[in-house]
Symmetry: C2
Subunit: 569 residues, 2 copies
């Protein structure tokens, strides 16, 4: 993209097809508008071409460049858009950013919008002038012809605009450009424009539907069509550049940070559980298997056993942030084959409620922390995916129900279809959702704990309540619980059995052989040494982010969502 | 382990076999000593048995208990050993800890050593007395018979010992025990005692040698035999409980913390690269493959492509802490099949040296930080695995050599065997080691950078130096570097190609098809959008920990080392 007269005008038509029959008319109108725009651009190009490049007194001030060493004035200060404030007014700065779009005002004047760091943007003005530094008409033409999403570097004087630039976050300043170089050009035709990338995703299916996005397109008045998750993943860079995804990624970071800092302040120590394991120890159904030097290896479904080995190994309190894997062929917005687990395990001194209280503290610190520190990011997400703020309980008024209490509530105050739910059978996803609404109405909170699950609904390592309490047809209850937000489970935890004989008994009761691979080594560890009473829990990071923001799919919360049909990019 | 007269004395003989013919005599002497000890214990037991349990006025103050609710005095304060200080003198406390060992002084008096949190230990005294609270002789007997490594809870009065207890970290205090309950008993016979677990590991082979550890046992004067890594892994809880492993694990945590905090302070943003990927994009040789819903998936060998996708996706600077996998059948102390990568990638403004300087800053902040903040842990490790402190350059005197300079140095000042090393061929591990010694002698540092690697020694995405500089037989040099400590590589990094045409050319030059799976999608991303100039690097967490401490094997630095023959636990 050398500055020659042949340079075509920026392709104004985005790369996506119109989305529905209704949309066809709009697309037609749009095409007409674009044709006019192209014509105008051609006229301007012709004007600019009247002078040959060699005659251009500004010819060194623009163009393609890979190396910007000594391209800028020595006194120009390199700044990021987010750093710009009134102290920069009148100063010469160098800004590197994406050119989001441009507009030709006249042969002498154009505007560009520069973006960097999620949703930091600012208006740039380029105006032909014979004063030094000279800005030529050709330069104006060239700059306003740069393909959107190209990465550029400009030298500019910071000025106050006549009135605030409403379309830009840095609305009180603008950049009067005197030099402009394209460091990395985008193609004329983007696979997905920023406009499309910033629309809500309309289809999360793993498979390309015959009509793809057309059918599912939302019936809004917007002229920008929306795309499917597949299109977004096929254009991963544009997907990620959209401010909504940048905000989600920033919130994801904060969740991890709140998790870590809450626990580190309470003397929890981090460790890394392995991904490769020697046995499908937590149920063989949904486990990935791989050839391993003549043997078989498995991918960890959770760090459960390893957290417990840490406790057996003398750690009082541990946490881990690690990938976990489920070979589940579920093509839903709730499922992924790889996700990130936030896990902890701790010694119990007197009661397993110490664990429950710690986990409640962790999650509340995450949610309250996000609401306080990420208000702006949450707003950005909500502007695309609308949601109600997460209702949290007042301090000291946390809602903890036993499983039996929760089922009773559902029977008595939930929809009629759940009038007969049992206290000794696990909840279904629709039940959980319905309960979420009942709890919200009754207790004014979207966050609550369900404790004392029946043993039928928990794995073998869950500690049974010593009191001997039962529910339903004499099913014992466990010291195990789930945490919910908006009726969706985000955490599972409880006390673990630390006595090897008791453990073996429960393993047999669940119909598992204590001699099976992985299980045997697990129980052996408890026999080899004394292991203190302990408990813990696991949080799905992707789910916490997705359900906190009420996103339509957990795939939006992941950095690179993995589904049965999708491993790229 | 109810407090009955039948309770046998603690098995004083550790579970391991004597280690060599020389050791046999020692073992014999030891056995005799133990027989005497057992005899003495039996006598004491007989004395204690003279009173039946029901007569024991202290009978509620000791025994096995799972539930300690209301077991202790309401005014007794629960404390951790590490928290104990002079302010506790005279107070009644409850301490939960591992019983490390015990000693019978007389029928009326015994000593126990309690341990918690790595190497925090304190002496406990139990003395029969008729004063309230009553401590009976039987109670003394019972407590001193508890199997080592059982997890216990004691109620005790904190007192100052007559003289400091040299064997304990909390030497200025002792616990006068009035209640003692075993919460989780260890077996009489441990698979590996704490004494053995605290010896240097003598054999890191994946395979059990016929004579196992016997041959390799170090010829020291110690009476405690050492064990192999296999024995350690078979006794994972004891392996981890050893103070040396606790210290290594704590140092590992700090490395991650320094890495993260240095980068977060410089606006790097964390993300999680996927483990499951759709193509063996970085060379198919050492990649794990798995069946994936009728297709094939691979385990990531590095987060390289994904870090670059983040930059393409609008992030200025990113880092990740993630597992990476190598299907390399190497049975050496340097190799693992799964390890933790500390990776970063950043936009380059003017020069790739920005990346180099950042990475240098990261590593120096880690090493200086460890030396400052982990002096105690380092000392603990050194008491088992001796090493010289890592020599670091003075600020401003960092050593950066070009690859050609390094080879010249090796030719001229290294061992004779390396007198003909070439400037256009990659270094071997012995060459690297030898260079480490030359650099240490010449520059007084164990930490240095080798820059400008020849392109023959780097992957296709390494940016070739624009100056056109060559080495050897006209081989071009790259803007890529490795970092070393003690002659061992801990970091690899450099500038990446961000121009898609240049990238494709290099892919072809390396004999790879630009249309091959993974590569095609990678290059496509660069074609889809403008990607700023960028570079980064990757640090092997396990190696940084191992080489910083000069450990004999990287396996010691891992939480759960994965080798071709070992996936358990």
């Amino acid at each position: 993209m050398e500055p020659t007269p042949e340079q075509p005008a920026a392709a104004a038509a985005p790369g996506e097809a119109p989305v529905s029959k209704k949309g066809a008319k709009k697309a037609e109108a749009k095409a007409k508008k674009e044709a006019l725009k192209a014509q105008r651009a051609a006229e301007l190009a012709a004007q600019a071409a009247a002078v040959t490049l060699e005659d251009d007194p500004a010819k060194d001030s623009y163009g393609d460049r890979k190396d910007t060493t000594s391209a800028f004035s020595p006194d120009a200060q390199a700044v990021e858009i987010r750093e710009l404030d009134d102290s920069h007014i009148g100063k010469t700065v160098v800004v590197r950013a994406w050119l989001q779009n441009s507009r030709v005002q006249s042969a002498k004047m154009g505007f560009v919008e520069l973006r960097k760091g999620g949703n930091w943007n600012i208006q740039g003005v380029v105006m032909a002038s014979d004063n030094a530094p000279v800005v030529s008409r050709r330069m104006v033409k060239w700059i306003t012809s740069i393909n959107p999403e190209s990465y550029i570097a400009v030298e500019a004087t910071v000025k106050q605009p006549l009135e605030p630039v409403k379309s830009c976050r840095v609305s009180g300043l603008e950049l009067h450009i005197t030099k402009c170089y394209v460091l990395a050009p985008a193609p004329a035709m983007l696979g997905m424009t920023m406009g499309v990338a910033s629309q809500p995703i309309v289809n999360f299916s793993d498979e390309k539907a015959p009509a793809d996005d057309a059918e599912a397109a939302p019936k809004t008045e917007t002229t920008v069509p929306a795309a499917s998750m597949l299109t977004h993943l096929d254009n991963i860079a544009m997907h990620k550049r959209a401010p909504v995804q940048q905000a989600i990624a920033d919130i994801r970071i904060e969740v991890k940070r709140f998790f870590r800092s809450y626990l580190e302040a309470r003397r929890f120590k981090e460790f890394e559980p392995p991904c490769l394991i020697g046995a499908a120890s937590e149920g063989g159904g949904n486990v990935f298997r791989l050839a391993y030097f003549g043997e078989e290896a498995f991918l960890a479904q959770s760090p459960q056993f390893y957290k417990q080995f840490e406790i057996a190994g003398g750690r009082e309190r541990v946490f881990s942030i690690s990938p976990v894997f489920r070979a589940e062929n579920s093509n839903t917005p709730r499922h992924m084959t790889e996700f990130t687990g936030l896990d902890l395990e701790m010694e119990i001194k007197e009661s397993y409620t110490e664990v429950l209280t710690t986990l409640e503290g962790v999650l509340l610190s995450i949610f309250r922390g996000l609401q306080e520190r990420c208000a702006e990011e949450i707003e950005t997400v909500r502007s695309v995916y609308h949601s109600e703020p997460l209702l949290l309980p007042e301090p000291g008024k946390e809602v903890r129900l036993t499983f039996a209490e929760a089922q009773k509530l559902l029977r008595e105050e939930g929809p009629a279809e759940f009038a007969n739910v049992r206290d000794d059978e696990d909840m279904s996803t629709p039940q959980e959702k319905a309960l979420g609404e009942v709890v919200r109405t009754k207790y004014k909170t979207d966050f609550y704990v369900i404790d004392k699950f029946p043993e039928t609904a928990r794995p073998f390592y869950a500690k049974i309540d010593d009191s001997g309490a039962t529910v339903g047809d004499g099913v014992k209850v466990t010291n195990a619980f789930d945490f919910f937000i908006r009726g969706q489970e985000v955490l599972s935890g409880g006390q673990r059995i630390n006595d090897p004989a008791e453990l073996e008994e429960r393993i047999r009761a669940k119909g598992i052989s204590p001699d099976s691979a992985g299980i045997k080594e697990y129980v052996t560890t408890f026999r080899q040494v004394g292991v203190p009473p302990h408990g813990g829990g696991g949080i799905g990071l992707d789910r916490v982010v997705a359900w906190f923001l009420a996103l339509p799919s957990v795939h939006l919360a992941a950095c690179y969502p993995r589904t049965p049909k999708r491993l790229m990019p």
